[in-house]
């Protein structure tokens, strides 16, 4: 269900923890699985649980507890904007409005062509560089302006 490359990455994560504590790698394994498949389907979570010899329900608990896992389908490009207070003071709401207008969707929605999903995020620990967003959980874009947002959207197919 996952590529050999993903399984190799999961094995590296498992090796960080004591041999009898494979479950410790579940957060990383779910992240790796999501990165390959786009989102975490029920079958994918069960598969990851099997790789780590843990109950599927325990893996679900993790997949649904942490904000960055997607247990429903998302667009090819998920844009998460932090709107918490420090970011809001530095223009995040205006950036969010610009994104909503450009994409024609609100927070928690996906464009009809499946290209973009827009999400509202909580503190990303980079407030000094606000306003900011995350692209597909892993790439941070900082000090956003309407112009840099437009350039970012155009670069994402």
């Amino acid at each position: 269900m996952l590529s050999q490359e993903s399984l190799n990455q999961i094995a590296l994560e498992v090796a960080k923890y004591p041999a009898e504590q494979k479950q410790s790698a579940v957060m990383a394994a779910l992240r790796i699985a999501q990165s390959e498949k786009g989102w975490l389907s029920r079958e994918l979570v069960e598969y990851v649980a099997g790789v780590l010899d843990m109950p599927a329900i325990a893996a679900y608990e993790v997949a649904t507890f942490y904000n960055m896992y997607d247990t429903g389908s998302v667009g090819r490009h998920k844009i998460t904007v932090c709107t918490n207070l420090p970011c809001a003071l530095m223009g995040a709401n205006e950036i969010a409005e610009h994104l909503k207008t450009r994409l024609g969707i609100g927070f928690g929605e996906t464009t009809e062509d499946g290209r973009f999903t827009l999400k509202e995020g909580e503190c990303m620990g980079a407030c000094g560089d606000a306003p900011m967003c995350l692209h597909n959980n892993h790439v941070m874009h900082v000090k956003l302006t309407p112009a840099t947002i437009d350039a970012l959207l155009e670069s994402l197919e």
Binding site: Q23, A25, M27, F65, L89, M90, E122, C123, A126, C127
Partner: protein, 426 residues
Amino acid sequence: MTLALPSVKVCSWTQDFDAPASLATYVAHGGYQALRRVITEKIPGDDIIAQLKLSALRGRGGAGFPTGLKWSFMPRAFPGDKYIVCNSDEGEPGTFKDRDILRYNPHQLIEGMAIAGYVLGAKVGYNYIHGEIFEIYQIFERALNEAREAGYLGDNLFGTDFSFQLHAHHGYGAYICGEETALLESIEGKKGQPRFKPPFPASFGLYGKPTTINNTETLASVPWIVQHGGQAFLELGKPNNGGPKLFSVSGHVNKPGNYEVRLGTPFSELLEMAGGVRNGHRLKAVIPGGSSAPVLPAGIMMDCTMDFDSIAKAGSMLGSGAVIVMDETVCMVRALERLAYFYFEESCGQCTPCREGTGWMYRVIQRIEHGQGRPEDLDLLNSVAGKIGGHTICALGDAAAMPVQSFLKHFGDEFAYHVEHKRCMV
């Protein structure tokens, strides 16, 4: 500035170099000398703990607990597995200092953790890194590999019988994992829900083993203290508030960013370093220690110095050193509405007062902000906040209550105006 020479820049001195995060930069300027000396000269752990106590280093993650005292709680002679864990799950709104340590000075944290492992008898350590900073996590993973290849991590360090393994654990979006026992649950591959204390982590921590958990900046300060002594560190701050500290300044300032200054520096100087209030506006309010810390009006804040004791005396907390600056254009009701939403969203759901109370407070503030407030709402908010604070397993309940209580205490007029006139006075 280097680690080899004492300077007020304890954690941020590498930032001016071309390759600040590289092992070569760190070693060329005195890096890993403290670790080498401690291990090869077999300096007793008690001596290092004594230096930490002398230094008056207090936890940089928010609680400000004396680090030397925390280390002394560890059953160091206990023969089984023990762990040192670094809390880099930096998600307290306004805080972004540990991110800069990880990306510009990761080796100083690695060295600090290895020294901690030696003193505390831990052969394995984990650094838990905030989910949203994946690129920073990758930088830290690269630094770990560099340190392993150079023999600063691994088996039989410097030809001695001391071995220390260090790994990075990447979070995936949960503010609550900054709470130390939630963080341990998360490393164990579970939901990040805080544990009842006692037992404290020093006796029952990761995998049920004795564990010490410190913040990134705290652990990164350790090599400097070992190198230059506790007294020198103490002298960079003020009594009971040793050393300098990184302050993350955000909001309405001209130059938001991290500033490492002596504890005890006047707030007015820090504000000036950050370029002052932007657009020539007047300062209205400051949250001096991350979003959970009580807000202070400008008049009180301008008389404070930036250290644990001065901010506590003024009725707030130095917390993580996250300074959120608000100018006269800010509607305090709207500001609090956003913070209340954050705690509602991030409550782990375990304790009823927090799970239900955070949502209740958010809905009441929201209706005040949107012109549907009722005259009794201010008392209601204080009542709900008072019933959350102190009634939950972890401090998230208090963290959610304190902003509400302090905004009402200092800016109650604005809330009353919103209720009465159905609009903002700003």
